[in-house]
Subunit: 335 residues, 2 copies
Amino acid sequence: MRNTTIIDIAKKLKISASTVSRALNNYPDINEETKKQVKQLAKKLNYWPNPIARSLKSNKTNVIGVIVPEIKHDFFSSAISGIEEVAYHSGFTILVCQSNEDYEREVINTNALMHQRVAGFIVSISQTTTNGDHFQALLDRKIPLVFFDRAFNDIPTYKVIIDDAKSSCIAVTHLIERGHKKIAHLSGPIAMDICKQRLKGYKNALKKASLPIMKELIRYGGLQESDGYTSMDSLLRDNIIPDAIFAVNDPVAIGAFQRIKEAGLRIPQDIAIVGFSNNKITSLIEPPMTTVNQPSFEMGKKAAEILIDMIEKRKNGYTNKTVVFEAELIVREST
Amino acid sequence: MRNTTIIDIAKKLKISASTVSRALNNYPDINEETKKQVKQLAKKLNYWPNPIARSLKSNKTNVIGVIVPEIKHDFFSSAISGIEEVAYHSGFTILVCQSNEDYEREVINTNALMHQRVAGFIVSISQTTTNGDHFQALLDRKIPLVFFDRAFNDIPTYKVIIDDAKSSCIAVTHLIERGHKKIAHLSGPIAMDICKQRLKGYKNALKKASLPIMKELIRYGGLQESDGYTSMDSLLRDNIIPDAIFAVNDPVAIGAFQRIKEAGLRIPQDIAIVGFSNNKITSLIEPPMTTVNQPSFEMGKKAAEILIDMIEKRKNGYTNKTVVFEAELIVREST
DNA sequence: CCCACTTACGAAAACGATTTTTTAAATGCG
DNA sequence: CGCATTTAAAAAATCGTTTTCGTAAGTGGG
C-alpha cells in the first residue's frame, strides 16, 4: 500500500501539486472552495505529509537527539521519560543513544545524529569525556544543545544541573550533625565536573565544622556499583574504618553498602552512609539509605523545554544559561 | 557552516554529480583513478552523505522505532539498552516513544513513526490496548514489526517473550513445595495476554497439586506498585489471609509487600511472596524477594537482531515466529 | 578500415514536498 | 475601451542523492 502524496491529490482534482501544497498550508492566495476540496480529499485519502521530503527542503527535522551514558540507569531512564513527555506534546520524537561511558562512542553518536539533522541535542556526557570538540562542532553549526546533570563545562550553552557542591555540603553537614567525625568520601573520575563539585562540597562541610580534610579518607573510582565496592574495599584494606561514608552517587553507595555488610559492620551504628541521586533502590534496601534527591524526571522535562524553546527561536525566559534545580536531602535510616 | 554535498565535490573536480556518487559507492564502471580522486576530496572536505536525501529516494531510513509503556521502568529501560546496543553495531539508531499505558497514545506514536518511515518497529503494548489495527497497518505496508514481552496476540509477526504460563507454574509449584496451601494470585488487566498466561500457570500448578482454585484468592488490578498495594489491601479487608502470594509482576509484588508489612505480618513466616521480572529492587529489599528472572537486556537484544534481520531481508534462522526465552526462578528469602 | 563492443562518464529523471517565478484571467478605474 | 492591478493557479526550481538512459571515445576482430 503506497502512501498518498500531494501529487495523487493534485491529479484527482486536476490541479497542480503546488496548489495542493498551498491549500493544505492555508496560503491566502488560494480560493476557499479549492482549499475545501483539497482538504476534504486529503482527509479521505488519509494524506500525511512526508516528513522526509519536508526535512530535505528545510534541512530540519522534528527529532531531538538524546545521548546518555546508559539508558538503563535509573537517573537517565527517568530523565529520558521526562524528555519524551515534553517532546511528545510539542510534536517532537526522540532519538536515543547511549555512550556506554565511552568517549569515542559519544563522538560517533554525536556525529551520526548531527548528520541525521536532528533539530537539537540533549546530552549528559560520559565519564571518559575530556575533549569537547564534538560539541563545539554543534555550536558552530548553530545546532541547539542542552546539557543535563553531567555538563561539559567549557561549552557555552544551556545546562540543567543541580548545585552539586551545595547539596554535597548539606549531606556531609548532616553527617557531622549526627556526630560523625571520620567521614570518608568515595569520589568518581575527578575530571568530571560533578565529581569535582561534590568533592568540593564535602571539603567545605568539613572546613565549616573545623574538621581536618584527610587525603586517605578520599578514594577515587568510577561511577558504577562495582567501583563503590572497590573503593570501600580499599579503605578497609588500608585498615581505615570511617564512621561515615559520603558517596559520589547511589550506585557507588550501594557498592560500598554491600562491602560494609560483608565486613560484618552495621549500618548506621558502625558506619553511616549517604548516597546521591535517590535511585529507587535506596528506599528499599535495609536499612533505607539517606541520599540526595535529584529530580531526574523534572530535569529531563526542563532540558526538553529549553531545547524546544531554542529550536523554535523563542528566546524568552532563559536569560541565565544555567538552570539549577533544588536537590533535597532525604534522610533515612542509614544515618 | 554548510555541509559538503556531492555537488561540491563534482564542481571541484569538474565532473558530474552522478560520477561522484558512483565513485563513492564503488560502482565498477568508474575509473580507478577517478574513484581515488573523489574519495580523497570527499575525505578532505569531510563529506558525509545526507541520510535524509537518501531516505527520500529509497523510502527507507536507518531508524528503528521503539514503543514501550514507560521508559523509566526497569524492565523496559533495560530492554531499550539492549536494543540500542544491537542497533548501534548495525548502524541503526532508535526512536523511542512511550505510550504511558494509553492506547490512544500508542496509536498516535505508531502512526507518527510510520510516517517518519522508520525501518521497523519493536513494541511492547500498553495495558489498555485491545485493538490491533494500528499494528495491522504496519504489516499491510510490509513494515517489519517485532513484539517483545507484551505481544498483541492476533498480529502474526515475530514475538520475543518468555513462557509465562510455564514460569508461573514453576513459581507457584515452588510455593507449594514449601508447604503453602492457600496461595493468592494478584493478577493484572486480564485482557493482556501475559496476565492470562500467568494466571493459567498459577491454576495449572494448583491443579497438579490437587489444590482447589478459589476465586476469592485471585485479585485483578493494574500492573503498578499501587495496584499491588490495593489488591493486597482488598484481600485483607475481606479477612482473607493467604499463606503465600504470587504476583503478576514485581511492582505489584512490591506494593503487596508494603501492605503486608504495614499489616504487621512477617515475610515469609506469615505470608511468602513471589514476584515476576527480577527488577533490581527485589534483591535489595529485606527480605530479598523470590522472583522470576526475565532477561530484559537479552530480550531487547534478540528483538533487535530479529528486526534487523527482517529489515535486511535475511530471513535465515528465524523459522519459528515466536522466540521464547528461558525465565528462571530466583529463590530468595521471601519464600 | 569498419563495425561491434567496452569503458567511462554525463544528462536527466526521480523521490515528495515547499517556494519562487510566471502566467492567465478577472476586475477596477479613469 | 484600455491599461493597471488583483486573484488564482500553473510551472519550474530546489533540497541531495540514486539510478536509468544515453553517448562519446577508445579497443579489437575480421
